[in-house]
């Protein structure tokens, strides 16, 4: 015992026997899924583009600077995606637009996550009347088309990029409430939760320490998939003129602007449309891959 | 073996091997077992989790999932019919007709959206080509046979209790009067008093239908109730086999001894339990020598070098243990 003790102090046992992280396992599973890897590469590229675009491009000159002489040029070596009705390079605008779309998507999902998990987890754990009220409100929310709801929120709060994020976020809260509640209900009856109560842990801490980490995988999957739909919702709002104000190059408003020229200059709508599709597609492929990697039933 | 005995053979397996190739390595679930079973006999296949009992049963039914499972076998015959070379459509005829299986969990073995009567009738319609009316009639008979009033044929599984469901499962398994019944832990999920009822029922039905049975279990008590012969499995091999009396009263293998010693003795409650030390070996990395050697109290150097082969001790009793090279060797166990 003496010797053991000194050994222990030299090299802590916890350090000595390394943890094998759960993340590595998920990564190993994910790596074998081709679709997920393609999705992952695409989304990483899009994120990099979004981050690097202010360095590569001069916002005032390349993105919103108008060059009337160059207007409505088809794709060429100078302008890969052509130019729009104000002579702006569509390629630069699409690239810069990734910033808006991703930001709106991610922030909106975070808003939805924060509200959804809090309400959903509380509803699942507390149960009873509270659960009933939350879930009925959730039902009402899901029965209103999310774009309509977002329009209502934006109209009430005013038109700005932040309000757009908020609107899309609130409109996509309901599925998170459902997922969180369902996950909590499943975990709630596990014996380790009872064990935590038996050692005298308060309820809020049980939710935080034991229940949420075990629901996390489902929530991550849901979040990844929802970023895609949030991007679409944001684009729809911008298309309707309720989103990111002009002249910022949001993909949805670019579509909207290109609409009146679609007969003769279809590339004006083609490229922003493709950008939306590619982003959402890659997120969905990644999300599906993560779900498969996390689902223990599909292992082996 | 005389001709008469050969005709009596219901099941004949030679050198059955099953392995599962997973990304974590090759799991060697069954490592070369021979089994024979004669008409009207009941064999108890005893062992702990991971001993390869269920895999053996699945291999007999040709139901080992592939991938990842790979089955190798020199001979697999059911009443003289070679099962190994049969194509899938013929196999379906064999399953249910010649062999059927009772699973451990009656809750998952029944389909919740069909009535109990329909589920029994279904296999009759397929295998016996009965009209749907006749099949219904027979289904009712089968229910009565397992002690459920025939009026309940129109009820759904959730309206039955656990013991009742297991009776229904037994009725389905016996509906086509199979020659061989594989029962995988049929009473483990049930309460003691219900377990007693079900075991009694199985004994009765066996008599009535002349069915041979393999009963897979970890419960030596159940084996004593139903079986004529016993095969003890450890890490995918049979370590001891013989008649019920051979294995229970003239135990030879140290592992079998360990199993008996682990059980609380109902006669002497102060007796200290003598568990088998250690754990089952990792099936992806089995030792070169005897798989039980690391946990064995009688281990010697010879045990670690080579895999012991089954040797005959008497006409019916065989054991796979190197220690019996020494004619003086005996284990400590005395009969309870």
């Amino acid at each position: 015992m003496e010797i053991n003790q000194t050994n222990r102090n030299q090299q802590r046992a916890t350090k000595l026997y390394k943890k094998r992280s759960a993340l590595e396992d998920v990564w190993r599973q994910l790596r074998r899924n081709k679709g997920a890897i393609i999705g992952l590469i695409l989304i990483v590229v899009i994120i990099l583009v979004a981050i690097l675009s202010p360095i590569l491009l001069d916002y005032d000159k390349d993105v919103i600077g108008q060059h009337i002489k160059q207007r409505l040029k088809p794709p060429s070596a100078d302008h890969w995606f052509g130019t729009d009705e104000l002579g702006r390079d569509i390629f630069s605008r699409v690239i810069y637009g990734a910033r808006y779309s991703l930001a709106v998507g991610v922030v909106a999902v975070f808003v939805a996550l924060a509200i959804g998990i809090t309400l959903g987890a509380a509803a699942g754990y507390i149960g009873g009347k509270f659960e009933n009220v939350v879930m009925r409100i959730c039902d009402i929310f899901s029965s209103i088309p999310s774009v309509l709801m977002a329009i209502a929120v934006v109209s009430a709060l005013g038109k700005s990029t932040f309000n757009l994020m908020l609107a899309v976020g609130i409109a996509s809260t309901a599925p998170f409430i459902r997922v969180a509640r369902a996950a909590v209900l499943v975990v709630h009856d596990e014996e380790y939760v009872e064990a935590a109560r038996a050692i005298g842990m308060p309820d809020w801490k049980i939710i935080w320490v034991h229940i949420l980490p075990n629901c996390l995988s489902q929530i991550i999957v849901q979040a990844t998939l929802r970023v895609g739909s949030a991007i679409i919702a944001a684009a729809q709002l911008s298309f309707l003129g309720l989103g990111v104000p002009a002249p910022a190059p949001e993909w949805g408003s670019m579509l909207s602007a290109g609409r009146q020229y679609i007969r003769d200059y279809s590339y004006m709508t083609l490229f922003p449309g493709l950008a939306i599709m590619l982003t959402v597609l890659s997120l969905n492929m990644l999300g599906d891959g993560i779900r498969d990697a996390l689902d223990p039933k599909l292992k082996r | 073996m005389t001709n008469q005995e050969a005709n009596d053979l219901i099941l004949d397996i030679k050198n059955l091997k099953v392995r599962y190739e997973t990304q974590d390595g090759i799991v060697r679930a069954v490592n070369g077992i021979d089994l024979t079973l004669r008409k009207k006999r009941t064999l108890g296949l005893v062992g702990e989790t991971g001993a390869g009992k269920t895999t053996t049963a699945l291999a007999i039914m040709r139901l080992v999932p592939d991938p990842p499972g790979i089955v190798e076998c020199d001979k697999l015959e059911i009443s003289g019919q070679d099962i190994l070379s049969l194509p899938e459509n013929k196999l379906e005829h064999v399953r249910g007709n010649d062999i059927s299986m009772i699973f451990q969990d009656p809750m998952t073995a029944l389909n919740p959206v069909f009535t109990v009567g329909d589920q029994i009738a279904e296999s009759l319609e397929i295998h016996e080509h009965l009209s749907s009316k006749d099949a219904k009639e027979r289904a009712g008979d089968m229910l009565e046979l397992v002690g459920i009033p025939r009026e309940r044929a129109n009820e759904y599984p959730h309206q039955f209790s656990g013991g009742m469901k297991q009776r229904v499962v037994i009725a389905i398994a016996l509906a086509c009067n199979p020659q061989l019944l594989l029962a995988d832990e049929p009473t483990t999920a049930l309460d003691v008093t219900i377990q007693a009822q079900v075991l009694e029922l199985m004994n009765e039905l066996k008599e009535k239908y002349d069915t041979s049975m393999i009963m897979i279990t970890h419960d030596l008590g159940c084996v004593a109730e139903v079986c004529d012969e016993v095969a003890v499995m450890y890490a995918g091999r049979i370590v001891e086999e013989g008649t019920l009396e051979d294995v229970f009263n003239r135990t030879l293998h140290p592992y079998t001894e360990g199993l008996f010693n682990s059980l609380p003795n109902i006669k002497d409650r102060k007796a200290k339990l003598k568990p088998i030390k250690g754990l089952m070996p990792d099936p992806t990395n089995l030792p070169v020598g005897c798989s039980f050697a690391p946990r064995c109290n009688y281990v010697s150097d010879a045990c670690l070098k080579a895999q012991p082969q089954l040797r005959s001790i008497s006409q019916t009793h065989r054991v796979a243990c190197t220690a019996y090279d020494n004619p003086e060797f005996h284990i400590e166990r005395r009969i309870l």
Binding site: A195, G200 | D191, I194, A196, N265, P275
Partner: protein, 316 residues
């Protein structure tokens, strides 16, 4: 050394269901001395698990008193109850669902210690975890593994270490070995027995397996549909069972021996529904000795021999 640790009086737990009131535990009283083991035996649905949970107030009892060292824990506030939990722990049946799959062994075992602020220093806490692991026979190298990497027996040892971490006085063992293999079962039973001797623990041992409880308990309480039908010291119960249900249970144990063929008492039917029970002996519908006056009311639990209680009209 034989002072009473736990005294349960008129404990009831009813659940409201859509079909009526479910009598899970219906007016049971018992007491348990220090350093003793009480075996709680019955079939599924007899209320033994609910009793175990209610005694720890993991399920709020409908009514009744639970005196732990003379103090009624049902009257404690939520906060005081949390502090009280140090002394009363539970070991679960299922070694797979009772451990949080996202936590390492170190985290699982140290949780009760840090939660109740017994040891604040992280290093000392880790030493205590290693000490506990040694006590229950877990190798030191496993400290950072996750439960899913281990087999059932080792997981059950983790559950035991977690229960021991706060040095409780009472441990409710809810079928602690029924999910384990025979050879592992014996290892765990021996461990529990050793720990009891070493640490002076008191056990409530819930099980359906009479041969295990025979080996393990000082006293046995047989439950049927939420009520105690017979309660006696183990020797007495096995040599002189009185209640027809006890007799049937004892005769139904499959004995792994060929030397004696016992006369089996076969019970008809299965346990009846615990919802909206009629006012008669609850075992009457399945009883092979049932007579008319068994249907006049619920038989009281009466003492027939010293320490031997039976609830049966016919035999008392």
């Amino acid at each position: 050394m034989s002072e009473t640790l736990l005294d349960v009086r008129n404990l009831k737990k009813y659940f409201k269901t859509s079909r009526g009131l479910l009598h899970a535990v219906d007016d049971i009283s018992f007491s348990l001395d220090h350093n003793k083991t009480l075996g709680l035996v019955g079939e599924s649905g007899c209320g033994k698990t609910t009793t175990g949970r209610a005694v720890l107030r993991l399920i709020e009892p409908t009514s009744g008193e639970i005196l732990f060292e003379g103090k009624d824990i049902c009257k404690l506030s939520k906060n005081d109850m949390r502090k009280q939990r140090k002394d009363m722990q539970i070991i679960f049946q299922d070694p797979f669902s009772s451990l949080d799959p996202k936590k390492t062994i170190n985290q699982i075992i140290s949780e009760p210690i840090s939660e109740n602020k017994i040891i604040r220093d992280k290093r000392k806490r880790e030493d205590r975890v290693l000490e506990l692991m040694e006590t229950v026979g877990l190798a030191e190298r496993l400290i950072n593994t996750y439960p899913h990497e281990l087999d059932g027996g080792r997981r059950q040892r983790i559950g035991i270490a977690r229960a021991l971490a706060m040095e409780p006085k009472l441990i409710v063992c809810d079928e602690p070995v029924s999910a384990l293999d025979v050879s592992i079962q014996a290892q765990i039973l021996n461990l529990l027995k050793e720990l009891q001797e070493k640490m002076g623990l008191t056990y409530i041992f819930i099980t359906h397996d009479l041969s295990v409880v025979n080996h393990f308990s000082d006293e046995i309480m047989i439950m049927y549909l939420g009520q105690i039908v017979e309660k006696a010291p183990t020797e007495e119960l096995f040599t002189n069972p009185i209640h027809p249900y006890t007799k049937a249970l004892l005769s139904a144990i499959p004995v792994p021996s060929l030397l004696e063929k016992r006369q089996r008492i076969s019970l008809k039917g299965e346990i009846t529904s615990p919802i909206n029970l009629p006012n008669e002996c609850r075992f009457a519908p399945r009883c092979y000795e049932c007579v008319d006056h068994c249907r006049i009311g619920i038989p009281p639990l009466l003492e027939v021999n010293p320490g031997h209680f039976v609830a049966c009209f016919e035999h008392v």
